[in-house]
């Protein structure tokens, strides 16, 4: 197997694909339409899971960044994990914004409104893009990793505020459907929504393993490429200085 795959990732990928296929089938075919929302309720099987796993991925970035910043646990692997999870968090946050907007247009009559939940999710997405941009700046890898780890810790502050936004402020966005003492949905709708969380957890795990291994691979090749370039430059320098000495010696000898 080439690339970043092995038997474990194939099994994980197969599990993610199966759970996703069953979720889509239940969500689009088996579950009934809602009395109020009609067919639009089917977006509930992809939107909350996208949003939740953007938060989970930010949490992993936060924890890995802390472990990187703490001198006793500092290791390149925490930096790689933080970077990998942040990229996936950005993908999930973008999906959450897109599906929310697609649901909002027929329900609220607008694609976008400056509601607290939406604004905070957009802010989180922007911060994640900033974090990923920070990781691409030049300079020593150690400095870049430390700065990124600080950013990874700070951006997580938005997550709990975003999660509780519907409770702390009066928002257009509805409150929690699932994470409350008496969930607002039941039966096949509840089962499908729970399954969607499992499917997105497996997708997140699968993407994270591949992205983490890719991060390691990129750093290894970058380091080896740098060492090779330095060795070549040293060899060129030695050849040039050797040539100059040789020319000077020949000039001294010539008279």
């Amino acid at each position: 197997m080439s690339g970043t795959a092995n038997r474990t990732t194939r099994a994980l990928g197969l599990a993610a694909l199966s759970a996703t296929a069953v979720t889509v089938y239940l969500g689009l075919v088996v579950t009934p339409p809602d009395q109020v929302q009609g067919q639009l309720v089917r977006l509930i099987y992809i939107h909350p899971a996208s949003a939740t796993f953007s938060f989970v991925a930010c949490g992993v970035t936060f924890a890995a960044s802390l472990l990187y910043l703490w001198p006793r646990t500092r290791s390149r692997r925490w930096d790689h994990l933080a970077a990998s999870s942040a990229e996936i968090a950005a993908v999930f946050a973008a999906l959450s914004l897109a599906t929310g907007s697609i649901w909002g247009r027929p329900t609220w009559g607008v694609w976008w409104t400056w509601d607290a939940r939406l604004t905070l999710t957009a802010l989180l997405f922007a911060l994640l893009l900033g974090y990923l941009a920070l990781r691409r700046i030049g300079g020593p890898a150690e400095t870049r990793s430390k700065l990124s780890a600080v950013a990874g810790v700070l951006l997580f502050a938005v997550v709990p505020v975003d999660h509780f936004a519907t409770e702390w402020w009066r928002t257009l966005h509805q409150g929690d459907t699932l994470f409350r003492p008496k969930p607002l949905i039941h039966g096949s709708q509840l089962a499908t929504m729970l399954l969607s969380f499992l499917a997105f957890a497996l997708i997140y795990g699968y993407l994270l393993v591949h992205r983490y291994r890719l991060e390691q691979l990129e750093e290894r090749l970058e380091t080896e490429g740098l060492e090779l370039a330095l060795a070549e430059r040293r060899a060129e320098g030695a050849a040039e200085s050797g040539g100059v000495v040789g020319a000077g010696a020949s000039q001294q000898v010539a008279p």
Partner: protein, 44 residues
């Protein structure tokens, strides 16, 4: 657009983006792993 149109757009965006992202990850990792020696290309 009908309600089913919005539903189809939502599912299309989610699984389309995830599929493209995964394809990009796998293609990049496959290309980079070709730079490694043969015996170091597999992950345990």
């Amino acid at each position: 657009m009908s309600q089913w149109g919005y539903v189809a757009a939502g599912y299309g965006v989610v699984f389309g983006v995830l599929g493209l992202y995964l394809a990009r990850l796998l293609r990049r990792s496959r290309n980079l792993s070709r730079s490694l020696p043969e015996q170091e290309r597999t992950w345990r």
